[in-house]
Symmetry: C2
């Protein structure tokens, strides 16, 4: 196998990149300035040495604790529970939340062999018992796995005095009623909001 084929084979292992796209990317890199390939290679080679899990919230970070956990201006009584580190970025971009995070590292999915013990749920319970937490917001995907995980955490915190909430589920902003699926529609009915007059 020659170098281009080897590169294409590696690139096509990335999510959403088929063999054709991988070929296009490889040739693009080849035809770009070599400094681009060198920069990209350098970032990739160093990535796993530089980026670690935050020992508090579990999200990817260069410094431990991560900038969010280390930020004393954030509300330490609020924890937002997410599936993956990427979700932290999405929520941070929305600028909607000023508390701290907890990254589960996945969702409960027995069929795929992912059990509660494979996630950081134990550490979440531990954090809640030790830190001075008032509210835990579950920001998990509105899927079967997300709902299962939310219910499991709800059960684990049955005895806890904290407030447990989950993100509203319903029609996406800018979406079209006509294209909403039955479940989303049903959730947006059950979660309907009273309009003050």
């Amino acid at each position: 196998m020659n170098s281009i084929d080897a590169l294409i084979a590696l690139l096509s292992k990335l999510p959403g990149i088929g063999k054709k796209s991988a070929g296009r990317l490889a040739y693009h890199i080849l035809e770009s300035d070599r400094s681009y390939a060198q920069l990209l290679a350098g970032q990739l080679a160093a990535l796993h040495d530089i980026i670690k899990h935050c020992s508090l919230c579990g999200s990817w970070t260069e410094s431990d604790p991560c900038p969010i956990c280390a930020d004393s201006t954030r509300d330490a009584s609020l924890i937002c529970v997410v599936e993956r580190s990427q979700d932290v970025r999405v929520i941070e971009d929305s600028k909607e939340f000023r508390g701290r995070f907890h990254v589960l590292g996945g969702l409960i999915a027995p069929l795929e062999g992912i059990n509660p013990d494979d996630l950081t749920i134990g550490r979440l319970i531990h954090r809640i018992s030790r830190e001075n937490i008032h509210e835990v917001i579950l920001a998990l995907n509105p899927t079967v796995e997300g709902d299962t995980t939310s219910l499991y955490i709800q059960k684990m915190l049955e005895e806890s005095p904290i407030t447990l909430t989950r993100l509203a589920s319903g029609l996406p902003v800018g979406g079209d009623l006509e294209y909403a699926d039955r479940l989303t529609l049903s959730r947006s009915f059950r979660g309907r909001i009273r309009m003050e007059r």
Copy 2:
């Protein structure tokens, strides 16, 4: 800028990869085995040192001349002219052509500042005059730039005794007449083929 952001910025420079996709790729790489990132980094770092242009046909290759030009079982009297090195791969995959190639390195596009002198057209004419070529097949994209380039090469070879052909243009196999654009339809009419009875 931290390492993940730097990687995302680099990845989002690739064609067809937006900022969101780049983020997904970066996190996927981070969550994959580190050996994958190392392998990919190695391929990228070495790419421009290993891959060169073939001094005969101009396509990307590890050895010079490239395996296709060096293959004495191929028909040396047949040259297929393509825009880019990737096109060689596509045509090779079709197993339809057993001659050699000539890579132009682009198409004539005056508005983008690409003139005949920026391409390897001169070298093509030189090859045709020196090698024992019977037929030159123009396999350029059926676009304005492709047609302009084909016409230019046709003009340059006016005096030459070789046979000059171009790929048939028409309805794609599996396509739907209803969705064919006017130009494609008009070309498939003009290029219609007599059915023997």
